[in-house]
């Protein structure tokens, strides 16, 4: 399975999905012109990973800002991880936020309330 690499831009996230070690990273800000066009390949990649690789998956999230439609797609992505975990897969999310960024920290706390896998909030 191919890795998925997208460079960070002013309005789209940097993406580094590594199929070899199951470590996925999202970083930066997201308010793309077409949110569906940006996030759909990411969600498809994760679903393909679950079908073909079935190993542990670690998602490192290092975001600065998400617009409302990006929040919705990220939530959709995390739902896919939750389903994988419920079906016996191993999943972990590391949610990074800047020490003074309450907004991103609170977003992480709210997501953590709804997942049953390991979700660590890390202040940097």
């Amino acid at each position: 399975m191919d890795n998925l690499l997208l460079s960070k831009t002013k309005n789209t996230l940097g993406v580094n999905f590594d199929a070899n070690n199951g470590i996925l990273e999202l970083s930066g800000s997201s308010y793309p012109e077409n949110t569906t066009e940006f996030f759909r390949p990411l969600i498809d990649w994760i679903q393909k990973y679950f079908l073909n690789v079935t190993g542990k998956l670690t998602l490192n999230i290092k975001i600065d800002y998400l617009n409302s439609s990006s929040i919705k797609y990220l939530s959709d992505m995390i739902d896919k991880l939750e389903n994988y975990h419920k079906s016996g897969g191993t999943v972990e999310i590391n949610w990074y936020h800047k020490e003074d960024d309450e907004d991103i920290m609170e977003m992480g706390e709210e997501i953590k309330e709804d997942v049953s896998f390991k979700f660590t909030i890390i202040s940097v």
Binding site: K10, S29, S68, K72, Y73, E102, D103, I104, E110
Partner: protein
């Protein structure tokens, strides 16, 4: 909550900082505006204030681009909405305002939705937010359908809106205040 036009004018009478824009609100402008906001505000606002302003301002500009009835063709066979936007900042509050033309058929439905959101307390808004991010976006939504809810939650204030009719055109304006 609907304010009379005169009340809106009074609440916008700030002088400390004033950014005003009228025109096309496409994604290119959103990127330019976000850079402008970071360069001018990130160091003079608290991180929490800055993130709230960034979120609310971008949602309002994006809404103009998506939904304004006044459209402008872009070079790549798409079109985008036009409208007005302002950001006014004093030592005690930050007021973000937008106005655009609206489909006359749509304003009552939108007003009812905002009225419902504005009446909810923090826990109810959180519950609605969590419900909305798990459901398909409404058919009439080009975003995630959670923008207004998040603006109210982050600013901790209602969205003030006003419908104005001039000749054959209907305008809708939104105002959100962030107390400092």
């Amino acid at each position: 909550m609907i304010l009379e036009e005169s009340e809106l004018a009074r609440t916008s009478a700030f002088t400390d900082f004033n950014y005003e824009y009228a025109g096309v609100c496409d994604n290119k402008f959103l990127v330019t505006f976000t850079e402008y906001l970071s360069a001018n505000f990130e160091l003079v606002m608290s991180p929490k204030e800055f993130k709230t302003v960034l979120f609310c301002a971008n949602e309002m500009l994006q809404n103009i681009g998506f939904y304004s009835f006044e459209r402008e063709a872009l070079s790549d066979s798409k079109d985008t909405g036009k409208g007005k936007f302002s950001l006014k900042c004093t030592g005690s509050e930050i007021v973000i305002y937008s106005e655009n033309q609206i489909d006359p058929e749509q304003h009552e439905r939108l007003a009812a939705k905002l009225q419902m959101y504005n009446a909810l307390n923090a826990d109810e808004l959180k519950a609605l937010y969590k419900q909305m991010i798990k459901t398909e976006s409404p058919e009439d939504s080009k975003g995630g359908g959670i923008g207004f809810i998040e603006m109210i939650r982050k600013s901790k204030n209602p969205i003030i809106y006003m419908i104005r009719k001039a000749e054959n055109t209907t305008y809708i304006s939104f105002q959100i205040t962030i107390r400092r």
